[in-house]
Point group: C2
Chain length 408, copies 2
């Protein structure tokens, strides 16, 4: 399997592009993986690489940093410069062990309860497929993406930049479903989605269930998605059916969704009541703190990451505005003293998608601190620093996300 074929290597490890190694793969099912390796510059790490868990074994191992069975990050060098992240390179983050993969054997039979509407009922994916369809490109990003940059050692997966990707979702607009059922209850202020994971015995379900509430304003863009990147929703990413809230942090995009409820209040499940809340370092989570809903404007450089050659270099990166379209991205080669506007690369897939950017730079030998700063169409720009917070959520400061490149 792929994860046994490729080990993480330093950028200067000749083994990475060894023709011998490559020839071994030619004509095998791994050929594509071999080819894609050329595009990647995995960062060297001391620790022995973990292998992919079975439910994610189809992923491109060389593109991922395996933090744990439930958390896999895309290598910064594997993010690429595309408008869409190939599924086999997309990060994985599960809050609970995934349900049995057999739930995707017959995806059309999966049932979801729609509650808090005039005519509540249970609908199968097969039925949803005849109620409407839309395709939306949006960035999927973990609330803790960038956590590794917090100096106080925020607890949780130490994501750098790769707990994010831009994917194409296809499904029925939630609005269409709700209108077909008579509309939401008049007192509804939240859309509460419940995941279909089976909960371990002997624990208070409220402390472990994946159940998230988002404000009803999300109804304008939310969809119940059965496809990702034009494939049936992979089990790894929430198939047969996933709640998708474009522009909202990953946790709100509930996988294996089995219930959508329009509610007056937010769920009291721990993941909502105290989890995913922005609070000062040392504080406990509580419902009165800001919840991780709409994402903020953010960008980072994807290439070069460590070394460049003297002369003209193309500097690549990705940028997005959360729920707000992007206006521009500026790049600095001197750690933020001087800025120059970068150019967007490729078609604009809409306000929720990311935009790859590129800037040509003539570099003489030396060391460069390359940073990028995105601004959305409402004038929001990335700050220089961090908003310190206990769990290291929502980091979009441009300084920490820069890279130091040696040009020789």
């Amino acid at each position: 399997m792929q994860q046994d074929r490729f080990l993480h290597r330093g950028p200067n490890d000749p083994g990475l592009e060894s023709p011998a190694r490559r020839r071994l793969l030619v004509g095998s099912a791994g050929a594509m993986a071999a080819v894609s390796l050329l595009g990647f510059i995995p960062l060297a790490r001391a620790d022995e690489p973990k292998s992919l868990p079975d439910y994610a074994a189809w992923k491109e191992r060389s593109a991922l940093i395996v933090h744990s069975t439930n958390t896999m990050e895309t290598e910064r060098g594997a993010i690429g410069n595309g408008v869409i992240t190939p599924s086999d390179r997309l990060f994985v983050r599960n809050n609970l062990p995934a349900p049995p993969a057999t739930i995707t054997d017959d995806p059309d039979a999966w049932e979801v309860n729609i509650e808090g509407v005039r005519n509540p009922r249970k609908l199968t994916v097969g039925e949803l497929k005849s109620m409407g369809v839309t395709t939306v490109a949006s960035v999927l990003q973990c609330s803790g993406n960038g956590r590794a940059f917090f100096p106080h050692g925020a607890s949780g997966t130490q994501w750098s930049v790769g707990a994010a990707g831009c994917v194409m979702w296809t499904g029925v607009p939630l609005k269409d479903v709700v209108e077909a059922l008579g509309g939401p209850d008049s007192d509804a202020r939240y859309i509460t989605s419940t995941g279909g994971e089976s909960l371990p015995e002997g624990l208070d379900p409220k402390t472990i269930v994946v159940e998230r509430s988002v404000p009803t304003r999300a109804l304008d863009s939310a969809l119940l998605a059965w496809e990702m990147n034009d494939e049936p929703m992979p089990h790894t990413h929430g198939g047969p059916l996933r709640m998708v809230v474009p522009g909202y942090y990953g946790v709100n995009n509930v996988k294996y969704v089995k219930t959508i409820a329009f509610t007056e209040n937010q769920t009291d499940a721990k993941i909502q009541a105290s989890g995913y809340r922005i609070r000062d370092v040392g504080e406990k989570g509580s419902p009165d703190q800001p919840s991780m809903w709409e994402m903020n404007v953010k960008s980072w450089v994807t290439a070069p990451l460590e070394s460049g050659r003297s002369g003209r270099n193309m500097i690549y990166g990705v940028a997005f505005g959360g729920t707000v379209a992007l206006d521009r991205v500026e790049v600095s080669l001197d750690g933020g003293k001087n800025w120059k506007q970068a150019r967007f690369l490729g078609p604009d897939l809409g306000p929720y998608a990311w935009r790859p950017f590129v800037m040509a730079a003539d570099l003489s030998p030396g060391e460069y601190r390359i940073v990028s700063r995105a601004t959305d169409t409402q004038g929001n720009s990335q700050p220089e620093g961090r908003t310190e917070n206990e769990r290291g959520y929502g980091h979009n400061g441009w300084s920490d996300h820069g890279v130091t490149v040696t040009v020789s």
Copy 2:
């Protein structure tokens, strides 16, 4: 390997979605393929399926009809409804055996000669990467796509609709390269690209070399591409470097390109002089006949293909305008008597890309002849019939491309 795992099945073959078969794959590198199978409805065929050739072994076997070692077509039921065709489902058509896969071991070292410019020179892919970059979505389609519908039995691969896909190309605009070299010779009227395949001994090279000329107007959009769908250009599809002429038929997008020449006349290579020419049935090819350059406006239905259930059905398809942006697609359920405008699905990737379309239809039991008709922004619409021609090129008639669906 995948092609040994999956055999083509009829749409009603329960084996297609057998949970047992699926579980076998869960957690294996084939899991994705298994999942994707659910999206496909391979058409039943009597002949035993051929296996994929080594140079295309990484492809999704269940998504492809293997006509020969050099010709593989995407199953109509595997085309999907996405704005981009996943690489492992994209058709393959080589005019000559592919060069050794080792040419992609070090893609940046591949050299291309730029001739017929003020300062002709040889450039490596590595050098091209610092000269400029663009990402363009465009439809790749074989000139003979639809040949199977010609009643006179046009010789050549019997493509139905699947010798086409929409892919994302990344590379340097040819215009940038040419300007850096002082611009084209004043008498240049054509851009002539030569492929890097090794030619068999003892044959007149002119009769077999893949060398194509396109008018210099193509310089506005042509690029030298080193990536496809955000992966290094696969060897199977012309890597390390491919000439891409957005909106032009596949043959003009020369693979393994080793020479780009600005020339006063078209090449006298057979593939240009007499090949890929529109002529009456029975006539021989000659340079005075129209060459297969810009594609015409076209569309076809991708689902349902054979059977539907009584009630609301979603009818899907894809449409494109070649070098002209698309204006609309109409769908008829009664073989062209009555038409209704369909809705485009997903983001618009630009004038050269295809647009998936969808139309909801309430169908009572019976038989329906479902056809689609696209119109571009210059008012060109698909004709009802064929333009009969010897080799069965450029078929965009809506009638032949329809499907007969039984609703029960």
